[in-house]
C-alpha cells in the first residue's frame, strides 16, 4: 500500500544506478539514521549501548570486511580473528608510540597493517580454493595470535601479554580509554560504520565489485574476459583485511579496552563468519543485520533465564546457551540459507503487493 514504486520513473542512468533507487527506501534509511543518531544515544541506558550497540556496530565493520572477501570475492577465510588482532595491536603500538596522533587516524592507519598482513596470507589463494584455502587461512589465525602472545614488543613487554587502551581525546572530548562516555564511543563507532558501509557499497557496485563477483562466480570465465585473477583476489584480501583491522582496533580500543590475545582466537573468526552467513553473503545490508543478530543472541540468552525467573545453575545456563546458539545457526541455515538480507527482500516484495497476496 505505502511501499509502491509506481510513478517513479528513472530518466537517467545515474538515477537507475543509485544505491536506493526507490523513494520509500531512501526515506526509510534516513529515518533509521535519524533514530540512530538522535534518539538512541539519548534514551538508551549505558548498559544497552555498551553490551549491544557498540559491539554490534564494531562487528558490522568486521562482517563487512569478511563479506567483501567471502561474499563478494568468494574466498572463504577463517583468519578474521587474526586480522582483527593485527588491527588491535597496531592501534595499541601506534597510540603508545605517538600519543599525539589523532586516535581516529590511528584506527584508519591500523587497517593498513592488517591489509598488508592479509595480502601476505592471501597469497595461497592464487593456487588453492574452497576449503583448502579456508584451512590455509587458519594459518594466519594461529600464527598471528601466537606472534602477539609470544613477542613482548607487541604488548610493550607486559608480563601477561595484556594490552590496555590509554585515554585519548578528540577535539577535547574523551573518546576512548577510561572516562569516555558510552554515548561518545557509540557515536564515533556509528559514524565509522556509516562511512564504511557507504564506501564498501560504492566499491561493490563499481568495477572492483564486479571483478570480485566474476571471480567468485566462475574464475575461469573471469580470466577469459581479461580479469587478472591474482590482482582481483589479492585486492579482495587487502580491502577485507583493512576493514577487519579497523574493526579489530575498535574492538580493542572502544569495546573491550583491555585485551589479551585470547580475545582474538579462532572463535572470533567463526563468530564473524556466522554473521555474514546468517546475515547474507554478498550483501552490505546482510553484514549489518548479521552483526546485530549474532551479537544480540548471547546477550539475550544469558539474560533470559534471569529475566524469566527460571532458576538454573550458571553451568547449566552456559551449556544451554551453547546448544541454543548452535541450534539457531542450523535453524537459520535451513529456513533461509541466503540469510536475513534475503528475508528482508522477501518482506519488501510482500509489502509491495500488500494487501493482496499476489
Amino acid at each position: 500500500m505505502f511501499y509502491r514504486e509506481a510513478g517513479q520513473f528513472k530518466t537517467s542512468y545515474a538515477a537507475d544506478q543509485a544505491i536506493f533507487p526507490i523513494l520509500q527506501d531512501r526515506l526509510f534509511v534516513i529515518a533509521v539514521l535519524a533514530v540512530a543518531y538522535l534518539v538512541i544515544p539519548f534514551i538508551s541506558t549505558p548498559y544497552f549501548l555498551v553490551t549491544i550497540m557498540i559491539p554490534s556496530l564494531i562487528f558490522c565493520i568486521a562482517a563487512l570486511g569478511l563479506n567483501v572477501l567471502t561474499g563478494y570475492a568468494g574466498q572463504l577465510s577463517l583468519g578474521t580473528g587474526g586480522f582483527m588482532a593485527v588491527g588491535a595491536y597496531a592501534t595499541f603500538k601506534m597510540t603508545t608510540m605517538f600519543p599525539e596522533l589523532n586516535i581516529v587516524i590511528v584506527f584508519l592507519l591500523s587497517g593498513v597493517f592488517a591489509a598488508a598482513v592479509g595480502v601476505l596470507f592471501g597469497l595461497p589463494s592464487l593456487r588453492i580454493k574452497g576449503f583448502y584455502l579456508a584451512v590455509a587461512t587458519l594459518a594466519a589465525q594461529f600464527f598471528l595470535i601466537w606472534l602477539f602472545n609470544r613477542v613482548g614488543w607487541f604488548s610493550n613487554y607486559d608480563p601477561s601479554g595484556t594490552i590496555s587502551m590509554p585515554p585519548r581525546d578528540v577535539f577535547g572530548i574523551r573518546v576512548v580509554g577510561s572516562g569516555a562516555a558510552p554515548e561518545v564511543r557509540y557515536l564515533m563507532v556509528l559514524t565509522l560504520v556509516v562511512v564504511f558501509c557507504l564506501l564498501v557499497k560504492n566499491l561493490v557496485r563499481s568495477r572492483m565489485g564486479r571483478t570480485w563477483m566474476a571471480v567468485r562466480d566462475m574464475d575461469i570465465a573471469a580470466e577469459i574476459i581479461g580479469i587478472r585473477l591474482m590482482w582481483a583476489k589479492l585486492s579482495a584480501f587487502a580491502i577485507s583485511s583493512y576493514l577487519c583491522g579497523v574493526a579489530g582496533g575498535l574492538y580493542f580500543a572502544v569495546y573491550l579496552r583491555t585485551v589479551e590475545t585470547i580475545a582474538f582466537d579462532v572463535v572470533l573468526s567463526f563468530v564473524v563468519l556466522f554473521m555474514i552467513i546468517v546475515g547474507g553473503l554478498g550483501s552490505v545490508l546482510g553484514s549489518i543485520l548479521g552483526a546485530f543478530f549474532i551479537t544480540a543472541i548471547p546477550v539475550i540468552l544469558t539474560r533470559a533465564p534471569h529475566d524469566l525467573g527460571i532458576p538454573i545453575s550458571v553451568d547449566m545456563a552456559q551449556h544451554l546457551e551453547v546448544i541454543i546458539f548452535g541450534s539457531l545457526i542450523i535453524f537459520f541455515l535451513i529456513v533461509e540459507p541466503h540469510g536475513l538480507a534475503r528475508l528482508w527482500q522477501i518482506a519488501k516484495e510482500k509489502l509491495r503487493r500488500w494487501p493482496f497476496p499476489y
Partner: protein
C-alpha cells in the same frame, strides 16, 4: 650472525650430540601424529561420501568419550558400555541426517560446513549437559608403561594407538572396496545425482557414513581420553586434524595417516629444537604454516586427486 647460527646450525649439532634423544623425540611426534590422524580419518570418511567438511568431528570425539565414561560410571561393564556408546553414536548419526543434512540437501557446501559448526556447538553442549563438564578420567584397561628397545624408550600405549589406527584404516579400506555399502558409498562420493538415479538410498548412505565417523570418533575418544582425560579441549583437536587433512588430500585415508605422521613429527621436532628460541608453543601454528606452504606448490595435497579444470 649468532642468531643465524643458533637457528640454522645449532639445532643440528644438538641432534648429532644426542641421537637417542632425537629418536625419542621423533617417536613422540609419531605418537602425536597418529592421534591427529585418528581424528582426521573421521573427517576424511565424511568428506569422501558427501563432500562435507564435518567440523563437528572434534565435538563427536568429545561426545563419544563422555558417553563412554558416563556408561562406565553408571556401572556398566566395558563391553556393554562400548556397545551402548556405539548405539548412541549411530543414533546421533541418524538424528544429524534427519535434522541437519536432510533439509540442507543441495545447498552450497559452505552452508553445510557452517551447519556442522552449529552442530558442533549443539553436540558439545549436549554432551556436557548430560555428563557434566569436569575432566573425566578414562581407563579402559589399555596397557600403560614403557619398555626399552636398546637405549630407546617406547611407550606401550603408543603402540596400541598405532595398532588401532592401522586396524581402523584396514577395516575402512576393506569396507569401501569389498562390500555393497562400500561400493554405494564410493558411487555417492562421485556423484549424488547419478547415485540416486541407480537406486542408491542416499539418506541411508549418509547415516552409515556418519555412524562410521561416530565409531572412529569413539576410538579417537578412547585414545585421547586415556592419554589426557576426557575434557572440553578435545573439541579443539579438530583444529589439529584440519591441516593434517589438507596436507594429506581431503579424501584420502592413507593421506591422513601419512600427513598425521609428518605433522606430528615435524611439529614436535621443531618445538623441541627451534621452538624454545622463538618463545615456545610453536605447535599452535606449525602444522598450518607447513600445510599452507605445501599447498602453494601442490594444491591437491599429498594424496588428493589432481584437480583438472575444464571449460
Amino acid at each position: 650472525m649468532q642468531v643465524l647460527f643458533d637457528f640454522l646450525i645449532g639445532p643440528f649439532f644438538q641432534i648429532f650430540e644426542a641421537p637417542i634423544f632425537f629418536v625419542e623425540v621423533v617417536i613422540g611426534g609419531m605418537a602425536a601424529g597418529i592421534m591427529y590422524a585418528l581424528v582426521a580419518i573421521g573427517f576424511a570418511v565424511i568428506f569422501k561420501a558427501s563432500g562435507i567438511v564435518n567440523f563437528a568431528q572434534g565435538a563427536m570425539v568429545l561426545f563419544a568419550g563422555l558417553t563412554l565414561v558416563g556408561f562406565l560410571q553408571m556401572g556398566a561393564p566395558l563391553w556393554l558400555a562400548l556397545i551402548a556408546t556405539v548405539v548412541v553414536m549411530v543414533a546421533l548419526a541418524y538424528a544429524v541426517e534427519r535434522v541437519v543434512l536432510g533439509p540442507l540437501v543441495n545447498q552450497p557446501l559452505i552452508v553445510l560446513f557452517m551447519a556442522t559448526i552449529g552442530l558442533s556447538f549443539v553436540i558439545e553442549g549436549f554432551g556436557e549437559l548430560a555428563w557434566g563438564s569436569d575432566v573425566h578420567r578414562l581407563d579402559v584397561g589399555l596397557p600403560r608403561g614403557s619398555f626399552f628397545v636398546g637405549d630407546i624408550m617406547i611407550d606401550r600405549f603408543h603402540l596400541v594407538a598405532a595398532g588401532s589406527a592401522g586396524a581402523l584404516v584396514v577395516a575402512i579400506v576393506l569396507f569401501m572396496q569389498y562390500t555393497k555399502f562400500g561400493r554405494a558409498l564410493r558411487a555417492v562420493a562421485d556423484d549424488h545425482q547419478a547415485a540416486l538415479s541407480v537406486g542408491i538410498p542416499l539418506r541411508m548412505i549418509w547415516v552409515i557414513t556418519w555412524s562410521i565417523a561416530g565409531v572412529i570418533a569413539l576410538v579417537a575418544g578412547v585414545m585421547w581420553g586415556t592419554q589426557a582425560g576426557i575434557q572440553f579441549s578435545l573439541v579443539l583437536i579438530a583444529f589439529k586434524a584440519l591441516p593434517v587433512l589438507i596436507l594429506g588430500g581431503f579424501n584420502s585415508i592413507t593421506g591422513a595417516i601419512v600427513a598425521g605422521l609428518i605433522i606430528g613429527v615435524g611439529e614436535t621436532v621443531f618445538e623441541v629444537y627451534w621452538g624454545q628460541m622463538m618463545g615456545g608453543a610453536t605447535e599452535n601454528w606449525f602444522a598450518y604454516v607447513v600445510a599452507m606452504i605445501f599447498l602453494f606448490f601442490r594444491p591437491q595435497g599429498l594424496f588428493g586427486e589432481r584437480i583438472i579444470e575444464r571449460v
